[in-house]
Symmetry: C2
Subunit: 219 residues, 2 copies
Amino acid sequence: MAEFPKTNRNRIKRAPKRGLYDRESIYQILDEALICHVGFVEAEQPYVIPINFARVEDTILMHGANSSRLIKHIQAGYPVCVEVTLVDGLVLARSVFNHSVNYRSVVLYGVGRAVEGNQEKLAALEAITEHFLPGRWLEARLPNRKELNATSVVSIKIDQASAKVRSGPPVDDEADQGLPIWAGVIPLQEKPLPPERDKLMTMDVAVPEYITKYTRKHK
Amino acid sequence: MAEFPKTNRNRIKRAPKRGLYDRESIYQILDEALICHVGFVEAEQPYVIPINFARVEDTILMHGANSSRLIKHIQAGYPVCVEVTLVDGLVLARSVFNHSVNYRSVVLYGVGRAVEGNQEKLAALEAITEHFLPGRWLEARLPNRKELNATSVVSIKIDQASAKVRSGPPVDDEADQGLPIWAGVIPLQEKPLPPERDKLMTMDVAVPEYITKYTRKHK
């Protein structure tokens, strides 16, 4: 099914024309985001924790230490909300009221489970590492049994999801169009700076191409 | 008081040496973040919504349409969690296990209230606009009575907060140091691209200095 069904939980209520429910748009935003923000509830108190992740088909994968409260909570099967936001620019209208942000965000809902078994855990860690930096899994030293045992992996099946996207120039009231105020967009882009080699490196290893060519830009 | 008290709710449990509780560190991270992620609970379901904001002393200010579910929820005085994260770099260890992210994050807890009265609302909107883009409030057309009536503003007093910061090179196991694997950090920085003038601008207004000199860099 290409679209997530719209329910009271995932329907975009404010500015509904900015809402998207198709998997392609939602997955593209998730795949571009480096970290997500996980909302969960304990004793009626909301918590939000940032964490890196990967999406594989219709699941979100995360990992952490066995003792991580967030990971234990997700393993236990409580409902979670996962949100990512990519900020694309500041939208400067003539009026303060019409200022906005160009952004692409996703909010999804689901229930997690523990990923068990070394093979399934390794596959999840590969997805998370490749989402973090494509190409890295093939170069780095892979997890050994001790590290694998110290790591908990969880999988959250995406139950419902929606995206919200704003792009383009400011939209001002017609009466404000002629005001002598600079209006437009300041685009924002997350950019990698030159890689900083670890001073403890003893061998003369060239910077791999997946690092020199790395970009946070939307593909 | 310079430090937020540590309680079971805000204490950093994983990697406690990365935890900070002093107001200066926490406020600096909040002030640099463009948007925050607000966690709240409705009918036991967690929600996370991204929104822009401002910090003034020990309060977080947000605004939205009168009909916004998030704003109405905050006005009603339910507990909320506000999280911001600044990503500073990808930390590439030799082992997959020791990969990390350089980041600065804040998680805070509080209870909101409606900001009433045109003067207090205007002051909050000024803070939010100046947090969004310093200098903008003095140039843009300020809110009129109709716009002010259509806007709800909420204030969340920071009850508890903590920051978590990771910086510096990867930390690998000693046994991995000699491996022929490139290790180090790819720094990431959100950068403004050249401003895009709104095509509907009829007057020849120069790009203001607060836009040409705008940077997302940490001051």
